[in-house]
């Protein structure tokens, strides 16, 4: 015992350094910009006419108007998740096991699909299959009525095509780590073909599929633009929350808060269910013998290629449609025939500010995210403790917060003195950083795990103090990882609609908001031109990530 007390003569604060300040600052910022606003809407949802009550929740569950939105949301998200698995798993299997051509190209197209904003997909399906869509019109000329794209099935269609890449990416990764001998063993036991895939391969990749499915569910559940554009009367929860909040007939923040809480309750429940199921079914595999590419011949190869091509084409069609439309001569909703750059001219004349806003806010956000990614991933990885693990968990919370909810919570928290941020660009940047930082964090921590710890110790032993050592060694080595994550954050930031739509004001409108309002006022040409600008930026950013990370794999 006496030996233990001796230890106390060491100064405990000698270990108190820069990283402790980073940790403290991170906690303060998270508490202020994330926890406090969420807690605020939590309180708000129980507040009615100046007293605590459950009235809002009672109202929600007794009026069909409200609870049917919840049902719609669950139906759409579940169906989209199911169909996305149905598409994503076979595409991943074919792409990773068989010798089909143009793999790299397909891979990039699939990622591009995922990164483009879903409401552009929705919009372009309207261009094709809407009441005045060109496919609809084409068939109408022959007297055939195409089914309408509007409604729940339209949302499911768009979400499936938009989000199956989540499944594809996760499953491709998992298939690479399966030890072939497991499959060979089952073949030797007389189980082969589809049976083998069902009995061995699928159970092995189940945890990964469920993670991908979780991403699809979350994305579909939280999406705002798609249901807004093609819901037409069929409301989902994010729409309802938004309308309650920004209603022309006087907003109802208490009900909006209640809806937000219900949204959050669903997403967190789904998250925990997924985690619980996965922990029970996780197998650790080390691919001693990773699977070889099977060389298909003749018709089999043609069919496999056709299948992948069909899926990829179907999911990339919206992009192609939008870009084509942007070069068409239009007059409001009417296509005048012929090509021109008029839409782009009009965009530059009408909403130049939206374009500069988008790039400026995203750039400010990316700078903040690069610094935060550098410092916070270091704290989380190299100063591992209960406290930093908690920090890690807190940073990842925004994964389960729908953008609309985050927007509403920020406005309610910061719409009055002393801190009045509503209507400023600052609140947009805050929302972007909170929502997109997880991407940067993921790739930053990934690269940090690969950097040798003793490089820093070598620098310190050579006489460079710890702080400067970090910036002279580890920080420089982390840059590629941090940047590729940050660019991903940037891509999703410029394509962001659901929180922007809640937080923007006239002067702080962004491209996505402008597209949204152009579509609503049926200015399809200008909307397409704006969407094309986003697509082009996304493609360029993807190329940059590929160059920086120097490999084909992009982790979303």
């Amino acid at each position: 015992m006496s030996t233990r007390t001796l230890a106390s003569r060491r100064n405990p604060f000698r270990q108190f350094d820069f990283w402790n300040y980073v940790t403290i600052a991170a906690f303060i910022l998270i508490a202020f910009f994330l926890i406090y606003p969420l807690f605020n809407i939590f309180l708000n949802s129980f507040w009615q006419d100046g007293k605590v009550s459950l009235e809002n929740y009672q109202e929600f569950f007794s009026y069909k108007y409200y609870y049917s939105a919840l049902l719609n949301s669950i139906i759409v998200s579940t169906a989209a998740t199911f169909f996305a698995c149905l598409l994503g798993i076979p595409v991943a299997y074919v792409m990773s096991r068989f010798n089909i051509p143009f793999k790299g190209f397909f891979h990039i197209l699939i990622i591009l699909t995922l990164l483009s904003p879903p409401f552009i997909g929705a919009y372009s399906w309207i261009l094709m299959l809407g009441n005045n869509g060109f496919i609809t019109n084409f068939f109408r000329d022959f007297g055939i009525d195409m089914p309408s794209i509007y409604g729940l099935h339209g949302m499911i269609w768009v979400f499936t095509l938009q989000f199956y890449p989540h499944i594809y990416l996760y499953v491709s990764g998992a298939l690479k780590t399966i030890d072939v001998s497991l499959e060979e063993a089952s073949a030797s036991l007389g189980v082969s073909g589809f049976q083998r895939i069902r009995k061995v391969t699928l159970p092995l990749i189940f945890p990964t599929v469920s993670t991908g499915a979780l991403m699809v569910f979350m994305a579909s559940f939280a999406d705002f633009g798609t249901p807004m554009l093609i819901g037409q009367g069929e409301k989902v929860l994010p729409i309802l929350a938004y309308e309650q909040f920004i209603s022309e007939m006087g907003s109802n923040p208490a009900m909006a808060s209640t809806l937000s809480m219900i949204l959050l309750a669903v997403t967190t429940t789904v998250l925990f269910v997924q985690r619980y199921v996965v922990t029970k079914k996780t197998y650790t595999m080390s691919a001693l013998r990773p699977p070889k590419i099977i060389k298909l011949a003749g018709t089999k190869r043609v069919f496999a290629t056709l299948f992948v091509t069909a899926v990829v084409a179907l999911s990339i069609i919206p992009q192609a449609t939008v870009i084509t439309t942007s070069f068409l001569k239009t007059n409001g909703p009417v296509f005048a025939g012929g090509f021109s750059l008029d839409s782009y001219r009009e965009v530059l004349y009408k909403v130049p500010q939206a374009i500069t806003n988008t790039f400026m806010y995203a750039s400010i956000a990316i700078v903040i995210m690069v610094f935060a990614g550098l410092l916070l991933s270091y704290v989380v990885v190299r100063r591992k403790s209960k406290i930093t693990s908690l920090l890690d968990a807190l940073i990842m919370i925004p994964y389960v917060i729908p953008g609309t909810v985050l927007g509403i919570s920020l406005i309610i928290a910061f719409n009055k003195p002393p801190i009045e941020l509503t209507g400023t660009w600052v609140i947009l940047v805050i929302a972007y950083v909170i929502r997109k930082l997880p991407y940067t964090m993921r790739s930053s921590t990934a690269i940090l795990h690969q950097i040798d710890k003793s490089v820093e110790e070598a620098s310190i032993s050579l006489g460079v103090p710890p702080m400067r050592t970090f910036f002279k060694t580890t920080a420089i080595l982390m840059i590629p990882g941090v940047l590729s994550g940050a660019i991903l954050s940037w891509v999703t930031t410029i394509n962001e609609l659901s929180s922007t739509i809640v937080l923007y004001y006239g002067a702080t409108r962004t491209i996505t908001v402008s597209i949204y309002s152009e579509v609503f006022t049926s200015n399809f040409g200008t909307a397409a031109a704006l969407a094309s600008i986003l697509s082009l930026t996304t493609i360029i950013s993807l190329i940059i990530i590929n160059i920086i990370s120097g490999k084909k794999d992009v982790t979303i």
């Binding site: 030996t3 001796l6 230890a7 060491r10 100064n11 000698r14 270990q15 040798d452 003793s454 490089v455 110790e457 070598a458 620098s459 310190i460 032993s461 050579l462 006489g463 460079v464 103090p465 710890p466 050592t469 060694t473 420089i476 080595l477």
Partner: protein, 370 residues
Amino acid sequence: MEEHIKIQNVSKYFGENKAIDNINITINKGEFFTLLGPSGCGKTTLLRTLAGFYQQDEGDVHFGDTLINDVPAHKRNIGMVFQNYAIFPHLTVGENIAYGLKARKVNKEEIKVRSKEALDMVELTHLQDRQPSQLSGGQQQRVALARAIVIHPGLLLMDEPLSNLDAKLRVKMREDIKQLQKSLNITTIYVTHDQEEALAVSDRIAVMKDGKVQQVGRPHEIYLSPSNKFVANFIGSTNFMEGTLSGVDGDNNATVTVEGVKFATKLLNRVEGKVLYSVRPEQVKLKPVEETGDTLLEGEVVDATFLGESVVYKIKFHSGNVISSHEHSIRYNMLRNTGDKVKVDLNPEEAVIFNESGEEVLNEHKNISK
């Protein structure tokens, strides 16, 4: 000899575990000192505590007259060579070596001169502008060494520097390191788990186990007179045999009985009872079966392994116990075959007798250092 590094009562906990336990070592100026032990013995923890990467929970460390307990790592003027080299991958070889000099604000001309000097010493002058990724493992290790000595450190620390190299290169590098260390006369603390390496390079060795120092001594001392069973077994290999001490007289003369044979021995203290008799395979002498003598035992060769310079025999006694014996393979016709009967001399002169638990040496043997 001038004392340089003084480690007094140093302990370090990780949670409730004592990683190093009350270490006391004094290292002389210019000495090549090795911390040797199996993994988890605390040798690297002690080294990192000296480097300043860990703060000890108890005890003091002096460099010369300076107490360095609270001196941060970057102010200790230590050169350190890491197991995985820890070369800065974003800097060229030359920039790697100049790194510590720049941190010390040495002027450009001198940096040039001293970098070249260091590169010459490790024979890498021609690779100055290379990227580290273009270097072999051995070359990277030399860069790490040059980078550590170019700053003229007061102390050089090496953490298993050769463990990632192949066997031949390891032998060459350890000779180079030893030579460089002697020519610079730089106090060096070297960590390894490889006993042969430790014996080859060190002036003195501290054998560690479970966070404690088991024995400190020159290589031949710890090999020939190990202070306990662990050291005897960890450095080289040895035969442990059960024995009994009896008939101790006033001058500590006694008789030890092993495998039924009695030997006279001189003890350090008056003790009797069960003991552990330790004799190294090369100290066990094999004689023709015809030879007779009170101290010779009869045995049978049950296994013979030819290793080139030597042959390892397994000899089985009538009791069923088996020991091993090394013989130089000098003459073809001297080689023994499985099944041959031999006489065995257990060489009590050179054997070490431990108490039953193996913690303590009981006999005065001819190798003991006084």
